[in-house]
């Protein structure tokens, strides 16, 4: 269901498009509707998840939030989208409306899924993981909508969000973190692609949107190594890890170990999928030790109901 805040702050605002209604002709309303639908479908058809809470929760989106609101967020219950910086003269505008990229919609909705599952604390490394899971599933929504393989996908987050006044292809690049934009006004994309470049900062809850480049690049590496459609294997591993294994305060290394364990459970020890997970994390400077991790299985076997 899509509500229109009519450039004010009252939530949810006027009902603009209910479930099953025809397109309205308003770009933000229809993009939010279609994007939420594509995200629901990815979770339902591929991961057998029924909405954000897995209980069929209504997906509520609010568009046209405030004036000059160059942002989108998940408020714990709903997705909220601004129109960009439409209040500035056209030659000064940097952002288009925030529904313009389908992966932003998948990103916001995934914050809801994370809230109901791993509950990753929105700070430091757990916060950067929270951000990264949102980018991962946001990108998978886009890739599935376009039926692109890992090789064909651009792995950009927020493609088309910048206006033509900005030198940038998108907000983040999962394939090459740190290269999404380089602009005289905005500066350069600050994301690291490797642990050696991890950014220590107190801003943005400990750089959650900066250091997410590291797990983003790890996921890209896994998906690329496995080939084909990224949502089928790499996405499945990441989803099961988010749903069943990750805990609120987990850091990158713990997440790496858990995706490695899930890969073994789903596809077998030393399977190409498990080795791809190891390699993906290794490429960003997070080394998993095969022997140790292979031997950790007692609790995990119990968790899976194995003897």
């Amino acid at each position: 269901m899509i509500y229109d805040a009519e450039n004010g702050s009252a939530m949810p605002g006027r009902l603009a498009r209910a479930e099953g209604d025809a397109a309205t002709g308003d770009a933000a309303t229809d993009e939010a509707y279609d994007g939420a639908g594509a995200t629901f479908d990815l979770y339902y058809e591929i991961f057998e998840r029924n909405s954000i809470d897995n209980q069929g929760m209504d997906l509520i989106s609010i568009v046209h939030y405030l004036q000059g609101y160059d942002n989108a967020f998940w408020n714990g219950e709903r997705m909220v989208y601004g129109d960009g910086d439409e209040d500035l003269p056209e030659d000064q505008r940097l952002f288009n409306r925030f529904t313009i990229a389908i992966d932003i919609i998948g990103h916001e909705l995934t914050h809801g899924v994370t809230q109901y599952e791993a509950g990753l604390v929105y700070k430091d490394q757990p916060g950067a993981l929270n951000e990264s899971f949102s980018d991962v599933f946001g990108s998978l929504v886009k890739q599935r909508a376009k039926m692109q393989t890992a090789d064909e996908a651009d792995w950009l987050i927020g493609e088309g969000l910048f206006t033509s006044n900005v030198h940038g292809a998108g907000i983040r690049s999962m394939k090459n973190p740190g290269t999404a934009y380089n602009d005289p006004i905005l500066g350069k994309d600050p994301q690291p692609a490797h642990m050696r470049d991890y950014v220590q900062t107190t801003s943005d809850n400990g750089g959650v949107h900066i250091n997410s480049g590291i797990p983003n690049r790890a996921f890209f590496g896994v998906a690329k190594a496995l080939g084909g459609y990224a949502w089928q294997k790499a996405g499945k591993i990441w989803y099961i890890a988010l749903r069943d294994k990750l805990a609120a305060n987990d850091d990158f290394h713990t997440a790496a170990n858990k995706t490695f364990e899930v890969a073994a459970a789903l596809y077998g020890k030393n399977s190409p999928a498990q080795l791809a997970v190891q390699k993906g994390w290794d490429e960003v400077g997070i080394t998993l030790h095969l022997d140790k991790k292979q031997g950790c299985g007692k609790n995990f076997r119990q968790f899976l109901g194995w003897p």
């Binding site: 000059g68 967020f73 929105y122 949107h209």
Partner: protein, 121 residues
């Protein structure tokens, strides 16, 4: 101690509001958000024309900047985090909040400062 300072400072403002003979300064910073591109701006009342300076002073007063309650902000996905600092009569006070925690009375001031900060880019 801080509470006492705030109370005294707040009382001064409540009694006098902002006296336009005295200059004031504002510093605004907005971080976080989906794109995580920080913007900031500093505004000095003596750099504004008289009408705009009065408008800003009224917005600060309408926020109850110095004595109003502000709910605690929890880190929340992709929400902006705002920090506003006001320097007046040699004393300084700062407030901060996320989008969700922003009191409604702050909206005009935040809108004004956000626009200033984005125009500056």
């Amino acid at each position: 101690m801080w509470k006492k300072f705030s109370a005294v400072f707040g009382l001064a403002l409540a009694c006098n509001l902002i006296n336009m003979q005295d200059q004031f300064q504002l510093h605004f910073e907005r971080s976080g958000g989906f794109a995580a591109i920080m913007v900031q701006v500093a505004v000095r009342s003596d750099s504004l024309d008289a009408k705009e300076a009065h408008k800003v002073a009224s917005m600060i007063e309408n926020c109850q900047f110095f004595d109003g309650e502000i709910p605690e902000s929890k880190p929340s996905p992709d929400q902006f985090y705002y920090v506003i600092r006001v320097l007046y009569r040699g004393q300084e006070q700062e407030v901060s909040f996320t989008d969700a925690a922003m009191p409604e009375r702050y909206r005009p001031l935040v809108h004004y400062l956000s626009l200033k900060a984005r125009e500056k880019k």
